[in-house]
């Protein structure tokens, strides 16, 4: 059910080209100096940043997808999350979505189901980050692009996030690219790690 994800010669602005292949259910870590363009790389892969090169999902190039279906399949969770309704609920597809999965994620990330009636303006940074992750995970993307998904979380919650993502990968539901500043975290979640340089990716030895 999961498919190979190919990043082929992606280049943007002064960066690239970057190439990488994710096998089914794999989680790869990306690390690199601040400002080198890690987030931009994820944005290019999600096709919201103008770029050269192409990404292929199970052999089908990005351009063969509509922009919407590509971004639903290859979903990015940006480091800073944005909310546009007054309350949490309307941001989630509560009718058509997988309510069992939604309930499971919400509970494991420390919320009750009444979180959907909460006001956005009263959420803390960490709460926003966790809810933003749920918002994307519940749509069941085939490739997950995570930009420092635990930067605002305490150690316990960070572990919960790690476990959830690893389960989804291991369950064959998706592959994952995980950007982090924390080599220890990447050694826990990723099977391979890459250093993002200005002009390419350098594979790092395991057990850093």
């Amino acid at each position: 059910m999961v498919d190979t994800f190919t990043i082929r010669n992606i280049a943007f602005l002064e960066n690239g080209p970057y190439s990488l292949e994710l096998t089914a259910g794999e989680c790869c870590g990306l690390i690199g100096a601040s400002g080198v363009g890690k987030s931009q790389l994820l944005r290019a892969i999600a096709d919201v940043l103008v770029h050269e090169g192409e990404c292929l999902l199970a052999g089908t190039p990005c351009l063969s997808f509509s922009p919407q279906s590509w971004r639903k399949a290859v979903a990015m969770v940006p480091a800073e999350s944005f909310w546009w309704h007054d309350h949490v609920g309307p941001h989630f597809d509560t009718d058509g979505g997988d309510t069992v999965l939604l309930k499971d994620l919400i509970t494991r990330l420390g919320f009750d189901m009444d979180v959907f009636t909460w006001q956005i303006s009263r959420l803390s940074t960490g709460e926003r980050q966790r809810l933003s992750l749920v918002r994307t995970l519940v749509t069941k993307p085939r490739v997950l692009l995570l930009d420092e998904p635990t930067s605002g979380l305490d150690k316990e919650m960070a572990t919960v996030v790690e476990v959830i993502v690893l389960e989804m990968c291991a369950g064959g539901q998706c592959s994952c690219l995980w950007v982090s500043h924390d080599p220890e975290q990447l050694s826990r979640v990723a099977s391979r790690n890459y250093q993002v340089e200005l002009h390419g990716l350098v594979e790092l030895p395991l057990c850093m």
Partner: protein, 268 residues
């Protein structure tokens, strides 16, 4: 009843009032006395010139002359709308969109009114065509300019939110839909308010002019009602055109938000 002609002396008396205002501005340090005097003079010269042009235009009544005059008015209105935006689309696109929206809001509506509603013969009779187009351009310009400027500013400021919505798989229309609707409302609310206030709070200028010129109040009111409907409709359609065209330009064919299409009107 014949309209009383104003002498140069009458006008200078009124101009004295403005000088008095400029004096006050200087005295209390408002610092806008120069602006008051310059725009006062500018207005006088512009209107005198237009008076001369209209005199010639009315005498000739030629279609080409009317078309030429209307085209100049349209291009200037388009420029005004474009110039009022703090951030603009790069290249000539922004100007073309502004002018196109003004065409929709004024040209097409004025043409419809002249041919169908007023039914003057020929339809381009300058005594009707030029004032009507002028009223429409002048009054719909605010709405179109206001909403265009607001759209670009809002999308620029809320680019993170718009992109977040794209990342969640929404189409570009959904991703900026709230902003687009807000901006359309912003452009249309002033004319809706002035319709509500017409006659009660304010006597519209055109009607006042007609009454001073000797028309019966009922005739003047009928024309005013017509012009109000036209302005409101023109503003609405012009605003929708501008918002649609500009927002489309802010996304590329892969529905990415491309803000490097924008230049800032400020020096930096």
């Amino acid at each position: 009843m014949h309209v009383i002609s104003l002498s140069a002396f009458d006008l200078s008396l009124a101009a004295l009032l403005l000088l008095l205002l400029a004096g006050c501005s200087f005295r209390i340090g408002l610092g806008i006395e120069k602006k008051i005097i310059i725009s006062g003079m500018r207005m006088t010269v512009q209107l005198l010139l237009v008076g001369l042009v209209l005199k010639v235009l009315f005498a000739s009544g030629s279609l080409y002359f009317v078309m030429f005059m209307s085209l100049v008015m349209l291009l200037v209105a388009g420029y005004e709308v474009w110039a009022r935006q703090t951030r603009r689309l790069r290249g000539s696109t922004g100007y073309l969109i502004s002018t196109g929206s003004m065409f929709v809001s004024s040209f097409s509506v004025a043409f419809l009114a002249l041919t169908v509603m007023v039914g003057v013969d020929p339809w381009y009779t300058p005594q009707y065509a030029i004032p009507m187009l002028g009223m429409l351009l002048g009054n719909t310009m605010n709405g179109v300019a206001l909403s265009s400027d607001r759209l670009i500013t809002d999308i620029y400021k809320q680019r993170g939110m718009v992109e977040q919505r794209l990342l969640l798989g929404q189409s570009w229309q959904e991703a900026c839909g709230d902003i687009r609707r807000d901006c359309m409302r912003v452009g249309m609310i002033p004319i809706i308010n002035s319709m509500a206030a017409a006659g009660v709070v304010s006597l519209p200028g055109m009607m006042t002019g007609q009454i001073l010129g000797g028309s019966s109040p009922i005739d003047a009111v009928k024309y005013q009602i017509l012009i109000m409907f036209l302005i409101a409709a023109g503003t609405g359609f012009g605003v929708m055109t501008a918002i649609w065209l500009i927002s489309r330009r802010l996304f590329d064919d892969r529905q990415r938000l491309v803000l490097d299409n924008l230049t800032s009107a400020k020096a930096h």
